[in-house]
Symmetry: C2
Subunit: 332 residues, 2 copies
């Protein structure tokens, strides 16, 4: 492990919440020799992290004072319902620290951060990685390698201090081996509703419908069913939390899917009609996905690349352009 200080002396990262995502981030930053410390509410988690060599504490106020003194970048790594209490403490004890988060849906977080008067130092983040497991025991080095890490910029400020936070967030994500893709909050939340939350809801419905066919149906199920319902194996409270935190965007996507399925249903009841159009459109859409995501999943370097100079004239336009392409960025 390379613990040699970088030049100039790097400012630390302070991760608030040491679950799967926050904890794995701490491990990656340590592995890269970056200064990092963390806080978690649970004594058991902090003890486990400490035993693994992590600088962690259960004392939130002391942790925030330390973050403020060292100009740390704060990373919010707690579930959405725990955010208001945590942000209250941040506003009281470390209001000038740069702030980011590793929570999935970005709308609620931005709203809550804004409500606590902290938007001027906030850059949203969403590392798109995870496993079915959770908690410190599930944390691992390399969880984010080649994963997309969405970084938002809705609340971009002319203030160089905000641009500095943005740059630090991108650099932190890159340190983990993630691929940074910029997006605005609404675009991000709509996209994840379509490609993650909707598939979860649909998988639940598919599972229930098959189950009503009894043992025969379950026993005949092959790979189309197994893959199509895999995410119904996710813990229900996690599905509920991710979907309910993104209600508006999910309802929009669900309405589109309902309209498509209703139209397929009607076409199937008409002997002169059928699902040819939908089968073709769905196939085309899947091919577009494979052309983009399949290629870039194997080789992240295949993803379109947009070069960005933070704070330079037109740099936000570059970020918007990258958003429409799903491009990664190269910061210089």
């Amino acid at each position: 492990m390379n613990n040699a200080p970088l030049s100039p002396t790097p400012r630390p990262v302070c991760v608030l919440g040491l679950g799967l995502i926050g904890g794995s981030l701490v491990r990656d930053l340590r592995e890269a020799g970056r200064p990092v410390f963390g806080w978690n509410r649970s004594t058991a988690t902090v003890e486990a992290a400490t035993a693994d060599g992590v600088d962690a504490s259960t004392d939130l106020v002391a942790t925030l004072h330390r973050a403020a003194a060292q100009d740390a970048l704060l990373v919010l790594g707690v579930p959405v319902p725990a955010l208001p209490t945590l942000l209250e403490a941040v506003a009281a004890h470390a209001p000038d620290c740069g702030l980011t988060d590793v929570v999935s849906v970005k709308g609620d977080v931005l709203e809550t951060v804004t409500a606590h008067g902290l938007a001027g130092r906030y850059v949203g983040g969403h590392p798109m990685a995870g496993t079915a497991d959770s908690g410190w025991d599930a944390t691992t080095v390399g969880l984010f390698r080649d994963a997309v890490w969405v970084v938002t910029h809705d609340n971009a400020q002319d203030d160089p201090a905000w641009v500095d936070v943005w740059r630090r967030v991108v650099e932190m994500a890159e340190t983990t081996g993630a691929v940074v893709v910029p997006a605005r909050t609404a675009a991000h939340d709509s996209a994840v509703a379509r490609i993650s939350h909707l598939p979860h809801v649909v998988a639940e419905a598919l599972s229930i419908t098959a189950d009503r066919g009894g043992a025969l149906a379950l026993s005949l199920a092959a790979t189309s069913f197994r893959d199509g319902t895999r995410v119904a194996g996710t813990a229900p409270h996690l599905v509920q939390a991710m979907c309910e935190n993104n209600r508006d965007a999910l309802v929009t996507a669900l309405d589109e899917t309902l309209a498509l399925l209703t139209s397929a249903r009607d076409a199937l009841t008409d002997p002169d009609d059928g699902i040819g159009t939908m089968a073709h459109d769905g196939h085309d859409a899947r091919l577009r996905y494979e052309a983009f995501a399949g290629r870039t999943r194997e080789t992240p370097a295949n993803r379109p690349l947009i070069r960005v100079q933070p704070g330079a004239p037109g740099w936000l336009d570059q970020l918007h352009y990258a958003e429409t392409l799903g491009a990664r960025i190269d910061v210089f």
Copy 2:
């Protein structure tokens, strides 16, 4: 390869249609040393099969005369639209041969077979195996190993000749290494609508909905989307054929899914409600599937087993019992 004749001299199998399923069946039977010959409409296919050592012909009438003379078991391996013409020839040239098929949906086949006066020697079959590829070039030894091969018995006859056909079909399926699961036509068609055709339709709708989110959505898609839409990569004409051949059962299943998704949608628009119930029910259903199908997929011997003596008193009740359990059968 063991080409030694079994005792008594085994009657041959005659496979009509040498696509992926029919052709792979021919390969398996040859590999097991069973007498088998085949027919295909296309000269190119017959030439390719012959080059691979298969006894094949493009002459349907001659093939059927040979089948009649040798008391062959006829296997229908053509797409549903080609069935009426083929069955007309069977009725004209080999009406007393035992008859089965390897077509997916069983309702249409039974109806067409009955319309051609051939139900008295017919036992339906559905080997649940396949790949995205088709045609002779895709055929392979071992395609059906450990796969479920559904065998139907709606039109069971007291006639010992029908019982003999049923026994021959089961034995042929077992020769390929498949697991025989008995089911009646309606139960089979309802089950495959729920676990195969519905997942295909839903995957098309999911793909289209994500695609409408543009490059950003496609670029953020991870495993939940990839797995949930995998079968949208199936050739559209195959999806169309399988779904449109099972319209009634598919519409019933689709209506149930639409009701579930509509109720989830409404719950998401109510701030006091949410998708907790659906997430729990879907999770429970997936666990039941994993408990049954997951276990039996890895180790087919884990599937419940019902012993059946064809033609013995109560044997059809045993088949119905097996159907409700999704059980395999052991014929003695």
